[in-house]
Symmetry: D2
Subunit: 298 residues, 4 copies
């Protein structure tokens, strides 16, 4: 093994807790959090705290080692709620790196995002389980088969949307799916479906939102003559292409680029932006507040 | 003088002609152009040609040395029209580097773009004359005074728009202004005004268009939670913020950035993007076709 | 099929010729080229011409449709040499899109670049054949097997370098390989080997060259505290990491990024930069002059 | 006043303390810091904490409001040292936003960085005083004069380096200068001089370090054929162009760009990178550890 490989492999081995908080800004809040972690034997490994001065709201991310910590996962949450969160009227979530998140992937016909995700799964770049791939077309089944991943194809998705979604929701529950990635799924989910996974459905849109929402963004970008194209990954909400943005990136285009070239360059962007968003989600690097994400590692 | 200075100074000294063409794609068209240049003694220094495959339209930029060329500026245009352009049904323009373009600057209260432009004028980065600065406020007059530039302030621009514009147009004509730069002018020009300077009014908008047109783009960008902000320079057309885009650029923002930080970072973008667009315009690096620019040097 | 798919598929179907030239700057040179193309029935689709003012050397790329052209591939080259190139003392090469280039891939243990290349082959992003993958380790054989690609493993490459290379060269000749991609091969080729494929071996180096040549660039970048990391694809020459650069790209790192994070971010860069360089090579978008590349599409 | 202006102006008004720490990683360290701030009445406004896992060293930046804080500036430092720092063997510094830092600017002949800095001073982008500009040439005196800034010209700097530096150090002491900005000063300072202002002399180098250190980086970059050029701002140390990097940025160049174009594009980079580094320094956003900077706001 080369040094690079060793470094890639030895990492994140020991259990850690990650706390995400947003809260009204009150004196003593950070002290209370650090006191909680220290008093019960946790060693802080990362801490970020910032204030939204307009709303006087604070955002916090703290990570500590659970090695030698006084409580189990469940107790940690309960004790934190009782001893800290309730006093400060905080909204909080605590995650534990030992709880590997379970991700479902929804695809249609475009292979680029799914291929990129599958590559990262294969080289163990992410600590995530993928029990299920769902599609409305058979085209990408060979990719799933190659790695013995379960692939469920649904027909007539547009015509029988409610019925199809009901079966999909059953499957997701059955496989204990924590969050969903729409890897160019090309279907609009119903509000009912979306409401079951709030801030837990990640979409990739092939433009720099809020520019060019909806269909055919590369064609629109070409026609508008933009000099830079983009891709945007966001949580899905009821309003199309309007959910909290997790990650965006862009690339220059030039006078010789046709719509084909925009698509080719853009697809490379799409897969990187989607994978970067998944990374932030899995590593609990972000929280959502008033329709925006606070991403602590970017 | 250092080597860098020498290099900066010795450049573009000898007269050159720059030809910009868009035309239906017809056999022999490039040959006819290169033949014209060569036959009359011009030495080609740059040539770019590309085809829009959807419309079967070609775009061409050619630059040649006028040293030893058979014709004067005016004759060159006439002979080209007769011998080449008419045969191929071309739209063309020929510019000569010895004809220094005359630029008017419209400003309001923000100093950043004007300061950046004035710096570039002072160090002779651009071959351009600025006979006139027009403003609806007195705030930036000291900048103009410092360099003995003519500064005309117009009051009550909003209330008497037509009357004010009539006087402005007179001034522009009197000073033989070729093109106008709106360096954060903060006023909307009437269609009548715009129609007098087609593709000759350059605006800077403080967002990545078509995202966040209109007022308060930084506030909107913050509220939408974008991860990257941008600036866009475009030719002004009748429809607000919808003219042909000349240049765009972007910069990442992060979770700690407030609206203030977006403004601070964005203003640096605005001035660079505007100056880059002016550079392309002055150096005749672009043409407009169907609401888009073809920028040959990017 | 979606519109995006249709656009991706219908492209580059008809045979085209691509001419690359560098030459002393002489009057009439472009005219002679465009005349040659037009006279024999070619329709120009792209043309770029620029002058290196220091050396008074011109660089040209021209592309034309062979449909209805008077000559076969071989004749085209011969007639061009005789009628144009010799008069102007040009160095030139003519490529034809119907001649699909044959690429060998050399790998070691890192899968990221090979996986990315294999994906692009699978979706037919590139017009290229890959008859052969060569490796000094068995690790990546499963990737080759999955797509029925020939995978040749060589043992003891370091110890028996000359013998191993002799056998490799035989294999390359046998498979009519046109150019070689070192997709993180981790071995230094001998000068003898390199000299057989001048400007036809493409390497990816995991730093922004000339910064951090040689081994362990991510560790060096971390230690030096750079704020941006990069990747560089270049043609291999006798001097390590010093060949003509084809493509580079960069990404920001921040204070929380460990060497692991640099490797993770960097590997995404490496594969995109390498694939972009392969694209330019395959599409004959570049030429080499005095140790630099002139890349016409960037 | 527009909304943008109001936002720009109302900011950073109330006194804040900024604590920068690096320390061996010991349990309870963050708790001790937050406890100190809270116990004495400070309200935390920002906090960032990260661990270098290789060295087991932690880096911390904390900012709190001094309004209602129990101690004066001087006491704050003493009490923190006694109650917190000594227990944990921390290296720390505390800054107060009310102590406006005093910056000297060293220039030579290039105006671009000085002009950019002067613009930012004029619009009050930075909370900084500039009592002194030092130069080895008279060329930029008019810029200083225009804003009534003190400009000291030293002749024969190369020949009488020690004597000149002795007088410069006197002037710096006399004007109570806190830190120095070399805005393309083009002279190498002696080790003696540098040692008087450790991590307090900010230089701008016109390349992406460690690529192209020393003289003529644009010429070298052109010759090497890089596809991206950069600029680097760093603290000056005894070894040329090897001090801790504060900020870097890059821009693409293309096949038409001459050395002149690299210089033109690069100078825009240089001024932005230098100003960004000054911003980080003034706002106490960074610390230096083992030859690297930890920059908390990027």
């Amino acid at each position: 093994m080369t040094k690079e490989e060793v470094l890639l492999k030895m990492s994140k081995k020991k259990e850690q807790a990650i706390l995400l908080v947003h809260s009204p800004d009150r004196p003593g809040l950070v002290r209370a959090i650090t006191d909680f972690i220290f008093s019960y034997g946790g060693n802080i490994q990362a801490l970020q705290y910032c204030v939204d001065m307009d709303d006087m709201v604070v955002f916090i991310r703290a990570k500590w080692s659970m090695e030698g910590f006084a409580f189990s996962r469940q107790e940690t949450e309960e004790v934190f709620r009782e001893k800290v969160a309730e006093k400060f009227d905080m909204k909080f979530r605590i995650f534990f790196t030992g709880n590997i998140p379970r991700m479902a992937i929804f695809v249609s016909k475009f292979p680029h995002c799914l291929s990129d995700i599958v590559y990262r799964l294969r080289v163990k770049e992410w600590d995530v389980e993928v029990p299920l791939i769902i599609s409305n077309h058979p085209d990408l089944k060979p990719i799933a088969d190659r790695y013995d991943m379960r692939f469920e194809q649904f027909r007539d998705v547009k015509e029988n949307k409610e019925e199809v979604e009901a079966r999909q929701l059953e499957l997701l529950a059955e496989h204990k799916v924590d969050f969903i990635v729409l890897a160019r799924y090309m279907q609009i989910l119903t509000n009912n479906f979306v409401s079951q996974y709030p801030n837990r459905i990640i979409n990739i849109h092939n433009s720099f939102l809020p520019a060019f929402p909806g269909a055919q963004p590369y064609q629109s970008a070409y026609k508008r003559g933009v000099k830079i194209i983009g891709a945007t990954s966001h949580y899905v909400t009821e309003e199309l292409d309007s959910g909290p943005i997790i990650e965006q990136d862009v690339i220059r285009v030039n006078y010789e680029d046709s719509v084909d070239d925009l698509i080719r360059k853009g697809q490379d962007l799409e897969k990187l932006v989607l994978s970067s968003a998944i990374w932030s989600h899995i590593n609990r690097e972000l929280l959502v507040y008033k329709g925006r994400t606070i991403v602590f590692n970017k």
